[in-house]
Symmetry: D2
Subunit: 357 residues, 4 copies
């Protein structure tokens, strides 16, 4: 099946291929009366845009968004918001070899197995270009949840972790890696230069924190806040793991160590003395920061030839030329943020549907 | 919102609280004509049943399943299958203290914040007893995917990992931990005895492998096979992390190391030389074994008092008496298997909806 | 496919066959904190219950409802509400002939064509007994929309219409036909006696009015209030037509005659000078009474033999013995009311999800 | 809520306002490998296009469709198909008065009551221009159900019915009314000329027949084929009633008269001796032609002033100038056909999801 919609009441649908004329998203269920213009969306697309440093793909895409519906006199009308982004820099000729043989680690073989054939130009629908549509939709979601602040950043690149003690939010936008640790950013520059020169690639871990999520958001049991976040994050290209709060580390703690003790707070709400749970209990937000961590595999497109087979089933090997990100994890940061916003907007609306609050 | 259904065409809905008269599941969309009786479901419930060893809760629940609809003359009719399990051993008196104060790590505070009040007896709806309904539904899913073999087991308990080289499938059912490594199982017995005596708890990591999943199952982009699995697993009580294939480890590999090279196979299908991807590319099954790993936090119910607040907002502390699993990860194994089966049954039907295969 | 759930945020799922041990509904998404007990549901089931007059089937079913989950200390908890009704008076032997040949007008052939076989006892899943589960679910929906008053009644039976000028709401519960016109009720008694003696059956038209629906409820474009009502009503057994407001008659009016002029009202809301639209414009409630009319065909079970074929494809003919309603339209009144309530509860929650009101 | 998607596995989402830059649809779940080009869609849009005779609105819209995704080398890829239609002939100045006062019969007041404000230009989202997107999506659905032939036509206009005995399929495209009865078409020309000159409007009844629908399609109980059709048709602008088969007339027949007797057919399938049921029993197709009838109210836009109120709540009256269809029922024919195709494509896929056939 093809399933290109996400969300339950605040919903979006994306469409478009890497080398088609355009791609886009339709956002439905957005509350009416919210101020929205293209200028509210473009900065997030710019953050994700390729070609902004030597560490990302050199494909040149302006990624200009157009709002085609759902906004009148500068405000959302409550009707579907159609967002469109033109594809400009398509070089279809780069992909002739890909038409014949499968690139290991890519979706090439799987799409053929599923659909019988595929649009091989730039990965077609399986291309990470689709994530531009998510970022655009996510920008709309952000305006629907003004009470929430979302911040994503890299905590690990090529196996090299940041020092949590050196965390400095101001650093995140001061380097091309969304890295909150200046020393780590310096090391990563070396790693990336080495990787790029070798025609190789590395993975990364993104962390994303949402502050201000009210206690009570979440829809147990099968649309739990953590379950929805896991689904949202795992749907991003190259993601292979998702953690909430302490994640796998929690499995190594005792019950005493993993507890998040509560104390009375100044405003009647509890103060938590720890946040191992990542802000979610029983699938419902506790009012603490919601913390998600996402593992991205190294880009599958590398210059080293890899053994593969052709569409005809013959042995071959393939080097992936073309213009690729040596670390897709970097540009995934705004995508992870967008998915966080989209999940939270949906949960906000679901919560007030049932409770009126 | 309350959201107690899962799946898109093969769907199930669960209901019931820990201390209500019963709990159950309604399975809808199951193919007709499949042989199904209570005897096909009961063994999976028995596997999850509490009180089978000294390492799990001593609550005595026979967990007898009844099929109330959807089966006629021993075969599924294609109409909804209602499954019901009576609650037998409810001791509501154990939970009086819980009514007044929040147990950190439990959903107590979050449910109150969401709904304004809660059924505090045994955790009410947030109790892990609900997973019995999933296991029953999962047993139905299994008969809908005879081509698939699913096997879950523990790879880590209390921070102690199995030795992959010592993996022996025959061991899994030979110890009370679903542990495939006999030496690890021996160590875990000690860990568990120590933990139980201390009134403490430990976490665990479950791995689950599905073999025989045909290449092509999966529904990109927002119902990707890995995305659905992440959602399914994260919806299980106490789960804080999900990995597909190499998971977070993939983020530490280079593109060369992470590749799954392909060779022509004897039957026209490719042979893969590795399975870092865990059997999924672009959200679609590749035909390799589908591999998921799930992290479960330590049980929040411990005998050590933890700082908390009361419903009235006053400082207090709470010890959780009652009968609890010192490691919820153990009994989670059949639950993880059930969720795997439920996701795959849904994807099988979705795939043939679109492609006719 | 089997699709036994209805609703988008206030949802219900029904299960059960005519001759199984029980049938039921799971209601999910209900707001928390609403007072609910079995005594709130039972009166609606009693209204639909068979065997209350000589004009309905003589099957004796007490239709006692049990609440199995989702209610604690007399209030809804916000978690799924499981409702169960035992089947008591099943006489499976009555249906042996039906196993072999198809009853024209029933779902027998269609179920066989779809599923390859069927539970032939009393129509199995296609039996109107399933509507008991809807009525139970509808009783829950009613408590979620206290601002709305719903009233259903028959406006036509066996082709004989009421006189709108003689409409008297007090009459509706004063005769066995939910007939608001005393003179018509007297005529219908004759029609029904004649029909019953002849072993024949007649159709009916139910009208249902919901007052107090706030302007603004409705979810354009594909979950319009009228669209949802049409879907809900057409899903009831034997229904073949649905009208909103003037319905088919509107197609015979000019634009001038069909207009619902508006005047300023005392409270700032408009006063409408007519209600041809049945309270809905553009799929959204206008604040006027919502008016639906539903056509029910005559019961297909009649004593006159009808030409048919057997499962083996041979010519035969069939008389439907057993205990049947000579006019299913009568007992459909509480079912139509229940579906109205269920649609409106869903729309109320959807509206406040998006707008916060 | 805003809900602009329809379908369960074969799904579409529409977007766009009457006076925005464009409108469109995203079709998801379409089977892969089907030949599809813009030339397969355009003829259906041309059939619905305004300005083709003096009996429809004189707004000039070429309604050129563009396929922006989901098709590669002339075949559907199985990924979302984005369809876009530019708005060309928008005269926003015509609608200044509408901004201030509500047009009775239109959605003006309801949209304001729901969303707090509205795009008043040409009805914004509530405009019948949206149906162009449905027709485009329906053209895609048609290629997914080659076994089915769909034919819509008018059976009544301004209260004047066709003579069923004079039914001649060849006439349908030979007059501007999709009228299968030449004599009726001649009368309707007079009715329409008179109506147009008076600045008035009339209603109509559309009948739509789908032949070749295999027995078994349909998804009981809450996605019954008739229930889905009712929902689909009632979602079309100006529709106030839906009938399946004999519809309301069935309520006036006895059980004997309403029966559809069955005889053994030459190919093992039954031959039905009548089709009162309109091809659907128990929500499942019987293999007979599926027959739907749809009532459309007269256009609300008329030249006669109608009493209304302003946004400020003051008494006023309004004449609707601008370019309007004196009978929206005429151009509704291709829209009804499209919705029929979309429902059937969805049901085809649902059926094979569950049964594999």
């Amino acid at each position: 099946m093809s399933w290109n919609s996400f969300g339950r009441v605040f919903r979006f649908t994306t469409w478009g291929e890497s080398h088609g004329p355009a791609l886009g998203a339709v956002v439905d269920g957005c509350p009416p009366g919210l101020p929205l213009g293209e200028a509210d969306i473009q900065p997030w697309l710019d953050k994700r845009r390729p070609g902004t440093s030597r560490f990302t793909t050199q494909r040149q895409e302006p990624d200009r968004v157009r709002i085609l519906s759902g906004v009148f006199e500068g405000k959302t009308t409550g009707t579907p918001i159609s967002l469109s982004i033109e594809n400009v820099d398509q070089r279809s000729k780069d992909y002739s070899e890909v038409a014949l043989a499968y690139r290991p680690g890519h979706a090439d073989y799987a799409y053929d197995a599923k659909y019988g054939f595929r649009d091989y130009r730039g990965g077609g629908r399986s291309s990470a270009r689709e994530t531009a549509a998510r970022v655009a939709a996510g920008a709309v979601a952000r305006i629907a949840i003004p009470e929430v602040r979302i911040r994503g950043y890299l905590v690990e690149l090529g196996g090299d972790r940041i020092d949590p003690a050196a965390f400095d939010a101001a650093q995140i936008d001061a380097n091309p890696f969304f890295c909150p640790d200046a020393a780590a950013a310096a090391r990563w520059e070396e790693i990336m230069d080495r990787t790029r020169k070798a025609g190789s690639s590395v993975g990364a871990v993104v962390e994303c924190v949402a502050e201000g999520v009210p206690a009570g958001w979440g829809a147990p049991l099968y649309a739990k806040l953590d379950s929805e976040l896991a689904s949202a994050m795992m749907s991003i290209n190259a993601v292979k793991g998702v953690e909430i709060g302490d994640g796998f580390e929690a499995a190594r703690l005792t019950g005493e160590r993993n507890a998040d003790p509560m104390r009375p707070g100044p405003d009647g709400k509890p103060v938590f003395l720890a946040n191992h749970a990542g802000g979610i209990a029983g699938g419902i937000a506790t009012g603490q920061p919601v913390v998600v961590r996402v593992a991205l595999k190294p880009t599958s497109s590398i210059l080293t030839p890899v053994e593969t087979i052709t569409r005809e089933g013959e042995a071959s090997d393939i080097r992936t030329k073309g213009r690729h990100d040596p670390c897709v994890g970097i540009r995934a940061v705004p995508v992870v943020e967008a998915m966080m916003a989209l999940v939270l907007a949906d949960q906000k609306l679901l919560h007030r549907a049932q409770t009126g609050r």
